[in-house]
Symmetry: C2
Subunit: 201 residues, 2 copies
């Protein structure tokens, strides 16, 4: 029913996460209504990103250079590595202004059912970094869900021998009640974790 | 915090309707994770659409030719014109298989507050078509909301003189309860319209 070019655009938009056929149709009609000067920058931005952006050779954050801006920053604490699943997680942590160390992006989390084993993630590169440099703390900030927890346990197991000398700590951000949340509406797992991890006032 | 190319992509994605900064970031990271072979077809589809798709010179539907496939179809009833706001509305009406006439796409609805007056829509072209050809019915299928209703009234007023001879009908799709709906949950305007427009069984 659509002309071939419109159908192709709708098909490509449907492949985006969270975009169903109806939304794809709506986006396509929006793009069709725009002037070329308004619509083409999106296509160009996508082409440019694929052309210039790649992974930092050290931490696998996204960058347009060899090393990302965080790895290049001499003011950061190179004895701490925060392990995250995706580059976007770095942005979230940076926004807190609570961390001044380096990062390591795994590119996902262990999920055997989806065929994602240790070799699909940048785990070997992480262990290599921890062994090669003077690293005192590895903060495993994978997501607090099944896959993220499994990944955190896997990393802790692999790094366990290095902690024997007492120079390396492996930590994980606290699980507990979100600020501004309500005890009544907390799920039992979160509330259980909050109680287990209770701190002296 | 993002590299310039990533920031540019996020900015461009944020301009899409219904896409906020968070969604734009998620979409951008999704596109960054894809291989160039997976991501670039979207950019290409957008470029192609801007290159090949334009408005039908008769009804302003989208087409890759001079006339859209509906205007080209000799089997359609050329004495009926269904007026819609957007090209997407044609798809919705075609899906019903209840209409075999031609269309006219206004490109929006009257909305003085947004600066959309009659000259911004393809109203002159509509009146021109109705006068020039042997048109027996104009179905004003603008949306059943404030702007759509105002546009329908405007069209009816303008075409009123042509109806005097009795050869031209101006109609509007029935407003009423949606099929599968529930009387209890119908809003009062819809229910009121449904009662006003009641039909003999």
């Amino acid at each position: 029913m659509y002309s071939p070019a419109v159908q192709k655009l709708i098909d490509e938009l449907s492949k985006l996460p969270g975009v169903g056929p109806k939304t794809a149709q709506r986006l396509a009609y929006h793009l069709l209504k725009l002037s070329p000067e308004e619509a083409l920058p999106l296509a160009q931005a996508l082409i440019d990103v694929k052309d210039t952006v790649h992974f930092c050779t050290s931490c696998f954050n996204l960058t347009e250079q060899e090393l990302c801006s965080i790895c290049q920053d001499a003011g950061r604490d190179s004895t701490a590595i925060c392990v995250v699943e995706e580059p976007g997680d770095i942005i979230s942590i940076e926004r807190t202004h609570e961390y001044r160390g380096l990062y390591h992006v795994l590119g996902g989390a262990l999920s055997p059912l989806d065929g994602i084993g240790p070799q699909k993630l940048r785990l070997a590169e992480l262990f290599q970094r921890v062994r090669a440099a003077d690293v005192r703390e590895v903060i495993v900030a994978t997501n607090p869900n099944m896959a993220g927890e499994a990944t955190a346990l896997y990393i802790a197991e692999e790094l366990r021998p290095s902690t024997a000398s007492g120079t390396l700590r492996i930590t994980r951000p606290a699980a507990g009640l979100p600020m501004g949340g309500d005890l009544e509406y907390a799920d039992e797992v979160t509330l259980g974790r909050a109680l287990t991890g209770r701190r002296d006032l």
